[in-house]
């Protein structure tokens, strides 16, 4: 019987987090305070974060001990299994071995608790009694509610109202764990009350929810704010994923060629990838790929030609329906081209060409998620589908090149509380429209010099 899972014993869980800041070949530009234009300092952060987490945020120590109290909670679901995706390999019929870290085993169903638990512990150790945060669709709010309950902290979650109304099960998860979830804008803050006075039916936004969560703890010595992604200390906590994967791969004498993760704010991607980024920095030949959402139209509507598979023109020419590898919306919208919630560490590594970013549109990603669910069984979170789309792309490239490849990716969470997204896809609600003729003409011009299949 072939092996499917590589497991670590509880005592084999990593005892330290890995801090990439110790090994970056060029220093990262620190985030700037929007008011002063100067790098954020500890005093700036002390208004909303406890000093022990600020120290981690600013640290350049390579290894940071994971407190026993945090490990005791993590081993409820960690070490997470490393799976071999035999069924997907067979479906793709490509010369690849595909491994994935299954982060859907946590009680909240995703990688988020890896940092939620750590943050709850550090806040408790600092003497904090309550934590506030914002959440969109509820993954982060759920994880933090769970973690706060573990350490006896009050948790207050401001959930964007449109998501609050759409996702009652996420709210119920938070409440089951003892968290309090408020639809934002809410009556709990001056910010919320003002917006509701102006627009009683406001559907809310992430910006409003952030403002409410911060206002909720400002000027309260016993309250602090928490964030589920983007910040250095959050990515640090997530490196337990990649460190476990390295131990598991060593157990089966396997060496990976490509490491893939989906990247929204960057925390799950960083968690898997950063320990391997270190290997790459020190000379290992390995590709590190961040799969992002994009809105490039489905390729099947462009002229059929050979084109590069990526914006960087690094792939062999692939025969496909193409709009030109450089298809982007008009420059006026370039400001929205990349989601500006990406972690600075990841952005820096992309800029330094240590990490490659690839974009996948939602039809591609849902198609990948469905193919995954129908071969491997587990239903991925829609975010995870971006990573799977990249895995499939990489596997098909290996097939095209006739070259064996070992792929590792982060299965960042399950989609069992997000099935409405799959319903939208399966009922055809997520369809492209016909491109205007001028866009098709532009695409034809771009690829006119390329060979035709």
């Amino acid at each position: 019987m072939r092996q499917v899972k590589v497991l670590l014993e509880e005592h084999e869980i990593p005892r330290q987090w890995y801090n990439i800041l110790a090994d970056l070949p060029t220093p990262m530009t620190p985030p700037l305070h929007p008011g002063t234009g100067q790098p954020l300092n500890a005093d700036d952060m002390a208004a909303i974060f406890p000093m022990n987490l600020i120290e981690q945020e600013m640290s350049s120590e390579r290894w940071i001990d994971i407190p026993e109290e945090v490990l005791e909670k993590l081993i409820l679901w960690r070490p997470s299994p490393l799976f071999r995706a035999h069924n997907l390999e067979k479906l793709l019929d490509a010369p690849v071995r595909i491994y994935y870290k299954h982060e859907g085993y946590s009680p909240a169903g995703s990688h988020k608790p890896n940092t939620a638990v750590a943050q709850a512990y550090y806040n408790k150790a600092f003497g904090i009694k309550r934590i506030s945060t914002e959440t969109g669709a509820g993954q982060w709010g759920s994880a933090l509610s769970m973690a706060c309950q573990m350490f006896g902290l009050e948790c207050r979650v401001f959930m964007v109202r449109v998501s609050y109304d759409q996702k009652p099960y996420r709210r119920i998860m938070m409440e089951t764990w003892g968290g309090r979830c408020f639809p934002s804008p809410s009556e709990e803050t001056e910010t919320g009350r003002r917006i509701l006075a102006e627009t009683p039916d406001s559907p809310g936004s992430l910006g409003i929810a952030i403002s409410e969560a911060i206002e909720d703890v400002m000027n309260d010595d016993e309250g602090r704010y928490s964030l589920g992604s983007v910040l250095n200390h959050v990515l640090l906590h997530q490196t337990v994923i990649g460190l476990e994967a390295q131990k598991q791969l060593a157990k089966i004498n396997e060496s990976v060629d490509v490491v893939i993760g989906c990247a929204g704010g960057g925390s799950n991607f960083a968690g898997l990838a950063l320990p391997f980024v270190r290997d790459k920095i020190y000379g290992k030949d390995i590709s590190i790929v961040a799969a992002e959402p994009s809105s490039c139209p489905t390729l099947t509507r462009g002229p059929f030609a050979y084109d590069f598979g990526d914006l960087a023109m690094t792939t062999p020419l692939l025969a496909m329906h193409t709009l030109g590898h450089d298809f982007v919306p008009a420059p006026i919208h370039a400001g929205g081209l990349r989601y500006h919630g990406m972690a600075p560490i990841i952005s820096h590594c992309v800029k330094e060409n240590i990490i490659e970013a690839r974009s996948f549109n939602q039809l591609e990603t849902f198609d990948a998620g469905i193919r995954w669910a129908r071969s491997e069984g587990y239903i991925p979170a829609p975010e995870t589908d971006h990573a799977i789309a990249a895995v499939i792309q990489e596997a098909l490239r290996a097939k095209e090149e006739g070259r064996e490849k070992v792929i590792l990716f982060n299965w960042s969470g399950h989609g069992l509380v997000d099935l409405a997204s799959y319903e939208a896809y399966l009922t055809g609600k997520l369809t492209d429209y016909d491109l205007p003729p001028e866009e098709i003409d532009r695409a034809k011009k771009t690829v006119s010099a390329y060979p035709k299949p």
Partner: protein
């Protein structure tokens, strides 16, 4: 309501399905700055917005780079520190 209002898309900021109606109201009287980038494969969103937004609204929405999460957080902290 407009003809596109019930079309759905997955929002990369919220992590869930939302309608076009939400996207065009996300900023209060202006849309989410990502609206054209997110929706252009699905409907003629730029034309739609140019017909409906004033030049001031257009500039406020698309005239500058959207704020990153960290910038937004510390701008909020500053604003709250200064308010009475």
């Amino acid at each position: 309501m407009t003809i596109y209002d019930d079309r759905e898309i997955r929002c990369p900021k919220l992590g869930g399905q939302i309608t076009f109606n939400y996207c065009r109201r996300e900023g209060g009287d202006i849309p989410c700055p990502r609206i054209i980038y997110c929706w252009h494969p699905f409907l003629p969103v730029e034309d739609y917005l140019r017909e409906r937004l004033s030049s001031d609204q257009w500039d406020r929405c698309f005239g500058r780079q959207p704020q990153g999460r960290i910038e937004r957080i510390f701008e909020t902290v500053d604003r709250l520190k200064k308010s009475p």
